[in-house]
């Protein structure tokens, strides 16, 4: 392992420490070392937005805490759900009295811990509603969509949900648009190399040199096909071919595109990849309304890329355009 770490069992704790030190104007610690919150949370009159998940996906999840974004995050071990207690504590620090929207990804551990935390929170009088992201197309067929994993589409779900909460909208409205965002979103990933959990010390899956695994999950869950590594344009074509028919995205649609590296792919290559995605969408009459290219949702040091596309209407456009400040996603309208 070529890694910049100390004790492999303490990587999450030490990462959280460094993160808080660097983002001290934006982020506060809480009484639970595995829960971080937006410095201003809970915000009076605003629904609390909470997420959480296993570590190793930086900027997800704590990188999306901030202004008009997520209020509190439960932090898990590497690739392992946060505890029910951590989700509960995140609900507590995010709740201003208007309830909490818990927007998270579809994994067995997260489902269980959120379910238990929601039950405990409601016993304390905190109203919690959930939206479970399931944007990863290759993880299950469309008729079993409830089995699909949540991947980088979660970033767009947080952006939309966070923006709606910032308008002062009630909980059911925040949950409605977050659900609409994820229902309009499809993703697919491709992996070029495996990744290693530091405490385990070796990769638990293999991608041979010169090969790529299409449809891989961002913990290394197996994909749909292992093939020879292809040029960027062909990889992009294959990925568009998997997700465009699934929604489907069609001519005259307007979309938000998010291209995220999986951790070890140079950002330069993400732009090569995105250029072709943009052209192909245009050729199909699909307009890219807004796009994000960078490391938004990674998988330790895996090489590869995820492509996420969300169809937008007037409501989603307004929400995606709202200013936001967070480590992972800061945007403001400087053009007028």
């Amino acid at each position: 392992m070529q890694r910049i770490i100390n004790d492999p069992n303490l990587v999450v704790d030490e990462m959280v420490e460094g993160f808080v030190k660097n983002h001290s104007k934006l982020i506060s610690k809480t009484s639970n070392p595995r829960v971080l919150k937006y410095k201003n949370a809970p915000i009076e009159g605003k629904v609390g937005v909470v997420t959480g998940g296993g570590s190793g996906h930086k900027p997800a999840f704590i990188g999306y805490i901030g202004h008009n974004m997520v209020d509190a995050v439960a932090v898990g071990e590497i690739f392992s759900s946060p505890s029910a207690k951590s989700f509960l504590d995140a609900f507590r620090v995010a709740n201003s009295g208007k309830g909490v929207a818990c927007l998270y990804g579809n994994y067995a551990g997260d489902n269980m811990n959120v379910k238990m935390a929601k039950r405990l929170a409601e016993a304390e009088g905190i109203n919690v509603m959930t939206v479970v992201a399931n944007d990863d197309v290759p993880s299950a067929p469309i008729n079993e969509r409830e089995k699909r994993r949540g991947v980088a589409g979660e970033v767009l779900m947080w952006k939309i949900g966070g923006a709606m909460a910032a308008t002062g909208a009630p909980l059911y409205e925040v949950v409605r648009v977050a659900q609409k965002a994820i229902d309009n979103t499809r993703s697919v990933g491709v992996g070029l190399t495996p990744c290693t959990i530091p405490a385990v010390g070796k990769p638990n899956f293999v991608i041979e040199p010169g090969k790529m695994e299409m449809g891989i999950g961002h913990h290394g869950e197996p994909g749909v096909a292992v093939t020879d590594l292809k040029p960027a344009d062909q990889i992009a074509d294959d990925m568009l071919g998997l997700i465009l028919p699934d929604l489907p995205f069609i001519s005259d649609d307007e979309v938000v595109v998010l291209v995220s590296g999986l951790g070890a792919t140079p950002v330069m290559e993400l732009y090569i990849y995105f250029g072709h995605v943009f052209d192909q969408l245009k050729a199909k009459g699909i307009t890219v309304y807004r796009s994000y290219v960078g490391n938004y949702f990674t998988s330790l040091e895996m090489m590869g890329v995820t492509l996420t596309i969300m169809k937008v209407d007037t409501e989603l456009k307004k929400l995606i355009d709202m200013d936001s400040v967070s480590m992972g996603l800061t945007q403001f309208d400087w053009s007028n």
Binding site: E77, S81, S83, S86, Y107, N113, M116, S139, V200
Partner: protein, 214 residues
């Protein structure tokens, strides 16, 4: 006739659970590595060892020891195993709460409560390649022995035999729930890590209860 052990002497049982997890940390991670993340042993060891630190210097009974173990797993460990084993031990503890002596009937109720709590959380069924493939047959064997008026020791020994068979049965199963279910057919041919740790836990229950029975 009922045989029993004192709740007040039951801390040794939870320490036996801790020790079996500690001794098998690497083995459990290796089993998990075949179709999971390879961190099952690491996460279990973290939780069980933290419980050991909390209880080893205290004079506490089985109920409180199980409550400590369950709370640590639930609050500090997360993943899937945190809530599953956490609720398992907490619901076992709830049954022996305020019981001075624990006989084979009470322990049977404890097992049943623990099993039902896992069934309620995870939606897994027998045959889905989970820890329930160890736990359900183990409980059934215990209960069958109990109905035929077997001794406490005989009930425990039937439980362990069925648990071992149950664990082994996961080898030929295709995972239906949890992360390994993403592998489909590729999950066949290896043991389930949760089923493996569940056998270790039931074995440790049996071997640590036996010397306490009067």
């Amino acid at each position: 006739m009922p045989e029993s052990f004192l709740n007040s002497r039951g801390k040794s049982i939870v320490l036996a659970l801790v020790h079996t997890i500690q001794e098998n940390t690497a083995y459990l991670s290796e089993v998990d590595g075949a179709i999971g993340d390879g961190d099952h042993g690491i996460n279990m060891n973290k939780g069980f060892s933290r419980c050991e630190d909390l209880i080893k210097d205290r004079d506490i009974n089985l109920t409180d020891s199980l409550n400590n173990l369950g709370t640590v797993l639930l609050d500090d460990i997360g993943g899937s195993m945190g809530p599953l084993y956490g609720s398992f031990f907490l619901d076992m503890a709830a049954v022996c709460h305020e019981k001075t002596e624990i006989d084979q009937y009470i322990f049977g109720d404890m097992l049943k409560a623990g099993m039902e709590s896992i069934q309620g959380l995870g939606n897994a069924k027998l045959g889905d390649k989970t820890l329930l493939d160890t736990l359900i047959p183990a409980y059934q064997a215990y209960d069958t022995a109990l109905s035929s008026k077997a001794s406490f020791k005989a009930c425990l020994s039937d439980m362990v035999l069925a648990a071992a068979k149950g664990k082994e049965s996961t080898r030929d199963m295709v995972a239906k729930v949890g992360r390994a279910s993403r592998l489909g057919e590729r999950s066949r041919g290896v043991l389930d890590a949760g089923a493996t740790s569940c056998l270790l836990i039931l074995q440790a229950f049996a071997s640590s209860i036996e010397p306490l029975i009067s």
